[in-house]
């Protein structure tokens, strides 16, 4: 019984180490391609569109409602000890430091990361990746680099928008429902918000974007076993990327702030 558990734990740990090592190696091999010509501007822009721009509607909805519910909860909670004027500060700090980057990361993973893994996985099982190789084209350069760069740059960009939208969501609820004066809300936002809160959040977002893209590409790249394999790779990619975001968020926060 116990032996069984230890065995399973061992298998999990070795699987985890193998996977982590695989992703790091894959990342290094990809980065090497960053410095070779030609530079596929067109492909990079296309990926920025599909990973970044097209994710905006979901990021918008998520951020505005998160800001709104935050204002709702903190207002009712803080009212118990007479601190309801602090709503603006709470919403602003939590959006920029934490919720903006993390929620955007998770949502883009679910939306674009899944698509990356499924598309590259399908290309693998239908031999399109082999076909790229036979046409003397490095698939890491052609497929992975554009997605990696799009993740790296578009996640911070979406996070900026998410921060702004979230804080405005809080504003709508505070002034619209709780009749707080708008000048008080904004004063409390600016009083306690530091520039560091904002750009450290963006550093986190860049890290989430890059690692999400790499993990999803990696999972797609090594897909095996037809349609079922593509499904499995997609699921694993989303789970692994989400876990990476949540776990690394703690350590990045501890290190940055």
């Amino acid at each position: 019984m116990i032996k069984n558990y230890i065995e399973r734990l061992g298998r999990f740990v070795s699987f985890f180490i193998l996977e982590a090592g695989g992703i790091v190696l894959f990342g290094l091999r990809t980065l090497k391609q960053l410095f070779t010509l030609p530079f596929d501007i067109k492909l990079i822009i296309l990926q920025m569109l599909s990973i970044g721009v097209k994710s905006f509607p979901v990021v918008f909805i998520t951020s505005i409602f998160t800001g709104m519910v935050f204002a709702l909860q903190t207002y009712t909670g803080f009212k118990r000890f007479g601190a309801e004027s602090m709503v603006g500060s709470v919403v602003a700090l939590s959006m920029t430091r934490e919720l903006g980057p993390v929620l955007t990361g998770l949502i883009v993973t679910g939306r674009a990361g899944a698509a990356i893994a499924a598309e590259i996985g399908t290309m693998r099982v239908t031999e399109q990746i082999d076909a790229l190789e036979t046409l003397a084209t490095n698939p890491l350069k052609y497929l992975v680099i554009p997605r990696f760069l799009a993740g790296l740059f578009m996640l911070p960009a979406l996070t900026v928008l998410s921060d702004i939208i979230g804080i405005n969501g809080g504003f709508i609820v505070s002034t619209g429902i709780y009749k707080m004066s708008s000048s008080l809300y904004w004063r409390k936002v600016w009083d306690y918000l530091e520039l560091g809160d904002f750009y450290n959040g963006l550093i986190k977002a860049a890290f989430f974007g890059a690692s999400m893209a790499l993990i999803c590409c990696y999972k797609g790249f090594y897909t095996e076993g037809g349609a079922e394999g593509v499904g499995k790779a997609t699921t694993q990619a989303v789970v692994l990327a989400s876990m990476t975001i949540l776990v690394s968020d703690y350590f990045l926060s501890a290190w940055l702030f």
Partner: protein, 253 residues
């Protein structure tokens, strides 16, 4: 032109290639036959360096592709064109972009000129008016033809065919065979095809080699193969379930 020497490859416990030796002359059309799972695809993928062997070498005009670094390997690959079993067209690109992929990427050709060449190559494989379609809009036979046009677009010296007729109806299969013979005459290329379709093998091959249990067990012209005394080859070319070849996973009583 192509020299395969003592090639070994295993996947986990399973030994697929156990010392393959084969040489293919310049301008020759070699067909490798063998049952499903005999390692034909694995063999052809070693020729173009998609797989690395455990042991042994593959020489392309004297260069050992199994030992090349990435950069030189990509250089060698420019001599190749390959037709995949499922055509492996890029889903996200239009037909003409598929065909002219190499030209735009490696020869820096303008889109307009590349498209003209794509249309010309498509005509060579018997297709007109499909250049602006997406691959998903094509039938299986048309996809194979587009795959063929893509493989020959950059005038390669060596063409590799992975099961060119599999999955096609007999008439379309024969049309593809004719096309392969035709292209060989017109382009004067060296080609390697793998297939288990004997009709196709006789038609397109100058020589035929049979891969069985990880080794080449016989090589000869189509006539020599037809009149072979080797019982394994006999069984395969006549397509009989009874004989020395064991069917994987099936035990006879």
């Amino acid at each position: 032109m192509i020299e395969i020497k003592e090639l070994y490859k295993s996947f986990g416990q399973k030994e697929v290639l156990k010392g393959v030796d084969l040489s293919i002359q310049k301008g020759e059309s070699m067909v490798i036959i063998g049952g499903s799972g005999s390692g034909k695809s694995v063999l052809i993928k070693h020729i173009i360096g998609l797989l690395r062997p455990d042991k042994g070498s593959v020489f392309i005009e004297g260069l050992d592709v199994t030992r090349l670094n990435e950069k030189d390997l990509y250089k060698v690959r420019k001599k190749f064109g390959m037709l995949f079993q499922g055509a492996a067209l890029f889903d996200s690109l239009r037909v003409w972009e598929n065909v002219s992929f190499f030209l735009i990427r490696h020869r820096g050709m303008s889109e307009k000129r590349a498209k003209d060449i794509a249309i010309e190559k498509l005509r060579l494989v018997g297709l007109t008016g499909v250049e602006d379609l997406m691959p998903a809009e094509l039938s299986g036979g048309m996809r194979k033809r587009v795959g063929l046009a893509r493989a020959i677009a950059h005038d390669p010296e060596i063409l590799l065919y992975d099961e060119p007729t599999t999955g096609l109806d007999p008439i379309m299969a024969d049309a593809i065979n004719d096309l392969i013979v035709d292209l060989k005459k017109k382009l004067n290329v060296t080609s390697v095809a793998i297939t288990h379709d004997m009709h196709s093998a006789y038609k397109i091959g100058d020589r035929i080699a049979m891969l069985y249990e990880g080794k080449i067990i016989e090589t000869g012209t189509p006539d020599e193969i037809k009149n072979t005394s080797n019982p394994i080859v006999r069984q395969f070319i006549t397509g009989s379930a009874k004989g020395p070849i064991k069917i994987e996973g099936v035990t006879d009583e």
